[in-house]
């Protein structure tokens, strides 16, 4: 462990986005709210009388306005298209305000049902659809802005402790029971409310008398590799030592969510979870480090549950410079630059990859940089496997492959063979999908058949998105240009290794029925000719390892 620590020290693979979203920090005058659905920060000054500054992911979602002070704002959220604003000021009702250009901005209100009912929170679930979560259940409404009224779509009653909402999958989890560990999942889809089988989160210790032990902060939802998981932080004692783990429950349509993965944190204290590029990032406040987990890398299975250790040693987020808070209203008077306090107690994380410091008025997106990870995974096969599943990893992969060819860092042939097989399996998959995409008309199945992903995009566009931008495809020309070209440049690579590597690559391509490009053959031929291995060359031709082609013959002339 000590060795691993020294190895990872100074390595930062998690970083904050370079251009954070700035907003008015929390103060006596200013309340700050964050809407997970639209990813907008609301800085409400004097309950709106002094103005509301909304900052979203892009310019279209930024807006400034004023509203009347009608009491303390508990929560504030725009509808999807920002045409209706919902404001909660009491536990009994939510107020609405039409926000289109010519609207009069007269508020209209919707109270929850029952005298003793209190609203815990609300979320927009679709265009003009909103759900109130109360301590007695959920109320699902349609907002009709023209009539300034709401129409009830569905009700569902039951005791609720707290709830978690995932806008990406339109799934809401409600906690019930005295311990808080009975979870009722609901899926919202075009005015319909689908109740999914409830399940129980198992607890390490059941307190007596019973009290709420599973809290909202311990539960997050994450879409990992297209599957929706519920991540539950769990502290328990192993051999007298308090330690924590994150249990992933796989949410299913027909059956209760199933415990499928356990991430071993091997530490205790406060944790927060983010998801970047299908990697689960677990921040640990006490040690000021973050850990990475990839549920497709390794893991030991006991037949039911797979256990994971951190992919690489924990490491702190890369240091970030900020300017000292300037005096409000005087943006010109910039303070001194200084290092941001990382893992501050004022940090709040939101899914999937948002980090907010309300005291400083910063909102960042978390990013993963792949280069530092390269040096932390020694097993090249595991490394390439990991990188192939990452976004924008192509150049990193090619760099790793190139290193594997160079004398000082040369990999063994079996490793090279496995790496080639991985690259070409992905390449083949891409070719297959490309063919499919050309042939098959995308079908829009019931969303319940494909519970996730659901972001409004159809499955096929997601797939094509995966193909183009997300998953790295290493084709022959990439290999030739960035990796195999070292054979020509570097004089001290043994020719036997060169031929063996090239043949291995050709074998790997052939195995998945990818036609080999002539320039690879040329490379083999030139190497063999250069070392006077004419008989070997002839044997290759004889067995059609080097297939005849026009460019080939001209090159051998």
């Amino acid at each position: 462990m000590a060795e691993a620590d020294s190895k990872s020290s100074g390595v930062h693979y998690v970083q904050l986005s370079k251009h954070p979203i700035r907003f008015e920090p929390v103060s006596q005058l200013t309340n700050v709210f964050f809407d997970e659905t639209n990813k907008q920060v609301f800085a409400v000054q004097s309950q709106g009388a002094m103005g509301v500054v909304v900052k979203g992911p892009d310019d279209k979602t930024n807006i400034n306005f004023r509203m009347e002070d009608r009491g303390e704002v508990i929560s504030i959220k725009f509808s999807y298209d920002m045409s209706v604003l919902a404001i909660q000021r009491s536990q009994k009702s939510v107020e609405f305000m039409n926000f289109t250009e010519h609207s009069d901005r007269v508020e209209y209100s919707q109270s929850c049902r029952g005298k003793t009912t209190n609203i815990i929170g609300f979320h927009w679930t679709a265009l003009n659809e909103i759900v109130f979560v109360t301590d007695h259940g959920i109320e699902y409404y349609q907002v009709i802005p023209e009539k300034k009224t709401l129409k009830c779509l569905k009700n569902q009653s039951g005791q609720v402790n707290w709830f978690v909402w995932s806008p990406e999958s339109a799934v809401m989890l409600l906690s019930s029971g005295p311990l808080g560990n009975i979870i009722n999942p609901f899926h919202f889809k075009s005015g319909q409310l689908y109740k999914l089988p409830k399940f129980e989160v198992d607890l390490p210790v059941i307190p007596k008398p019973p009290k709420l032990v599973l809290h909202e902060r311990d539960v997050t939802m994450a879409q990992i590799y297209g599957v929706l998981y519920i991540c539950v932080l769990r502290h328990h004692t192993v051999a007298g030592k308090l330690t924590a783990e994150i249990v992933l429950y796989h949410l299913q349509r027909e059956n209760p969510a199933r415990r499928s993965c356990v991430l071993r944190l091997n530490m205790s204290g406060r944790f927060a979870v983010n998801l970047v590029d299908n990697i689960i990032i677990v921040h640990h406040q006490a040690s000021k480090t973050s850990m990475l987990f990839d549920i497709k890398s390794g893991g030991e299975s006991d037949g039911y549950v797979t256990f994971y250790d951190p992919l690489v040693p924990a490491s702190p987020i890369r240091p970030f410079m900020i300017r000292a808070p300037s005096i409000p209203g005087q943006p010109g008077a910039d303070g001194q630059k200084h290092e941001l306090e990382l893992y501050s107690p004022n940090w709040i994380v939101f899914q999937p990859n948002i980090l907010i410091d309300a005291k400083l008025g910063y909102m960042w997106y978390l990013k993963l940089s792949l280069e530092p990870i390269v040096s932390l995974i020694d097993d090249k096969v595991k490394l390439i496997d990991f990188l192939l599943r990452r976004k924008d990893s192509k150049m990193v992969i090619l760099k790793v492959c190139k290193q594997m060819m160079l004398p000082d860092s040369q990999a063994s042939l079996p490793v090279i063979a496995q790496v080639f097989d991985l690259l070409n399996a992905g390449y083949r998959e891409y070719l297959d999908k490309e063919i499919q995409a050309q042939v098959v008309v995308p079908s829009l199945g019931s969303i319940l058949d494909h519970l996730v992903p659901y972001t409004g995009a159809s499955e096929s566009t997601q797939t094509m998105d995966n193909l183009r931008g997300r998953k790295a495809i290493i084709d022959q020309s990439d290999m030739y240009t960035h990796v195999l070209s070292v054979f020509g440049d570097s004089k001290n690579i043994h020719f036997k290794f060169i031929v063996a590597t090239l043949v291995e690559y050709i074998r790997s391509l052939n195995q998945v029925f990818i036609p080999v490009q002539h320039y690879l053959y040329e490379l083999v031929i030139n190497t063999l000719v250069h070392h006077h291995c004419f008989y070997q060359l002839h044997q290759f031709l004889q067995y059609h390892v080097l297939s005849d082609s026009k460019p080939l013959w001209t090159s051998t002339d």
């Binding site: 063994s412 042939l413 079996p414 063979a417 036997k496 290794f497 031929v499 063996a500 043949v503 291995e504 050709i506 074998r507 052939n510 195995q511 008989y535 070997q536 002839h538 044997q539 004889q542 067995y543 059609h544 390892v545």
Partner: protein, 472 residues
């Protein structure tokens, strides 16, 4: 010419000798010239006379031609000459088959001079030298390291056994070609074999060259063509048959289905053909032949370690200076055993899938490619072992093929075609050479005419050799 006389004597070895004229230039020292003479119990006087006569012939013919003397025809014998290295001559004398005939009530011996073909015995002689060189190194190499006495010992050691194995009576066109049977294989399996060999050589750096065979067919050779040609000959005519015989008799200390390495390795079918017969007896290293190859540099000495699993054989040429420790065999076994076993069964399956050749074809053929030494024959049931009766056409047809081959070889033209018909009219023989490829078809069709035969051959070319192009 019909060869139907049952009492015809076979071609047999009369004598065989190696000499160097420079070794005893003065009178009375002639004995020194003789490095090897067979039969060994010949009187010295006769040996000296035979050598002297050959010397004289060689000297005499030199005055007429720049090409050294190749063969001498006598009524009862045929002598072929070969100068493999400067001043070293090898001479092979064989008897001409004869049969008793009667004419006017008088019996007399008729000699069938045409039964013996220069090209065939020239090839036999050259092959004898190459086999010697494979196991002992070149004459020059031996002399560099030792004396003429050493050379004599080695010649004696080698040839006294080698000559016993010669089957002169069965020598034919295949000796002239001395070709290699390649295994037809799909690309993916071939690439897998390639990768295994690359990995083997990268893992065991002492392995300098590797060859891969399946049964008697070559798949891959890292050796140069000429080295492979004679090593292939040795493997397929000597080592493999002897090993198979031993296997059949159960002479092997451990049976093929169980592996008793004692280690934790899973069971596989691999074992050493040369090298330790059992990996549980660390004191028994078995026999590992040493051979000399010229792939990297001339006369490079190597251990020939042969490993086999099912029908697949890997021949590893290991640096001669390397003292192989017993653990080396063990790690080789655990590396090669499982992989080779699975490859071998892959290839076996591929073969099982292939449709068996149906009806007996109307024609038989011999094919040879000078470029890669690839050889194919349907005339010989078994091209390597040459068991008696394995040739499926009459001997005179074989000779006819040999004659056409000799004609074609003499011709300066690269492309050639000869069509011949036997006197009895039962057989047609078509010889064709195109580019570097040569092939002979024997068609047994009594009433065919030239045009029909020509058509037949064309059809054959397209159906059997479609991937090989003949320049028309």
């Amino acid at each position: 010419m019909t060869g139907k006389s049952p009492e015809k004597t076979p071609v047999s070895l009369v004598n065989f000798f190696v000499f160097n004229s420079e070794y005893g230039p003065r009178e009375g020292e002639e004995e020194k010239k003789i490095l090897y003479y067979y039969p060994p119990n010949t009187e010295l006087d006769k040996k000296i006379k035979d050598v002297g006569l050959c010397e004289a012939i060689i000297k005499f013919t030199e005055t007429f031609s720049d090409n050294p003397c190749e063969a001498m025809h006598a009524q009862k014998t045929r002598q072929v000459f070969h100068q493999p290295e400067k001043d070293f001559w090898m001479v092979l004398t064989v008897s001409i088959p004869s049969s008793e005939k009667e004419k006017d009530g008088q019996s007399y011996m008729e000699f069938h001079e045409d039964d013996v073909q220069d090209s065939v015995f020239d090839a036999v002689l050259k092959q004898a030298y190459r086999m010697f060189k494979l196991f002992m190194g070149s004459f020059q190499h031996i002399l560099e390291k030792g004396t003429a006495q050493n050379l004599k010992q080695r010649l004696d050691h080698f040839f006294s056994r080698y000559l016993q194995t010669l089957k002169l009576n069965q020598s034919d066109i295949l000796d002239v070609y001395c070709g290699i049977h390649f295994l037809p294989l799909d690309k993916n399996t071939y690439l897998k074999i390639q990768c295994l060999i690359n990995l083997l050589e990268a893992t065991f750096l002492q392995v300098k060259y590797t060859a891969f065979l399946y049964n008697d067919q070559l798949v891959w050779s890292g050796l140069e063509q000429d080295d492979m040609r004679y090593m292939y000959k040795y493997l397929t005519t000597s080592l493999f048959p002897a090993y198979m015989e031993q296997e059949l008799q159960g002479g092997s200390p451990y049976s093929s289905s169980t592996n008793v390495t004692g280690g934790p390795s899973t069971s596989h079918y691999g074992k050493f053909v040369t090298g330790p017969p059992s990996l549980t007896e660390p004191q028994n290293f078995g026999k590992i032949p040493r051979i000399f190859v010229n792939t990297g540099r001339p006369d490079e000495e190597c251990h020939l370690l042969v490993y086999r699993a099912l029908s697949a054989t890997v021949c590893m040429l290991i640096e001669g200076s390397f003292q192989i420790p017993f653990d080396f065999f063990k790690s080789l076994d655990s590396f090669l055993g499982p992989q080779l076993s699975s490859l071998a069964s892959d290839i076996g399956e591929q073969y099982a899938r292939r449709p068996p050749s149906t009806a007996e074809p109307l024609f038989k053929y011999v094919y040879f490619n000078y470029m890669n030494l690839a050889q194919k024959t349907t005339i010989h049931a078994d091209s390597n072992k040459k068991t008696a009766g394995s040739v499926s056409v009459p001997p005179d047809i074989m000779r006819l093929i040999g004659d056409i081959n000799a004609d074609i070889s003499r011709s300066s033209n690269d492309d050639n075609e000869t069509i011949a018909r036997t006197q009895t009219g039962d057989y047609w023989v078509v010889g064709k050479k195109s580019d570097q490829r040569e092939f002979y078809v024997v068609i047994n069709q009594k009433n065919a005419n030239l045009i029909e035969i020509n058509e037949e051959v064309k059809k054959l070319c397209t159906s059997h050799f479609s991937n090989i192009f003949f320049l028309d």
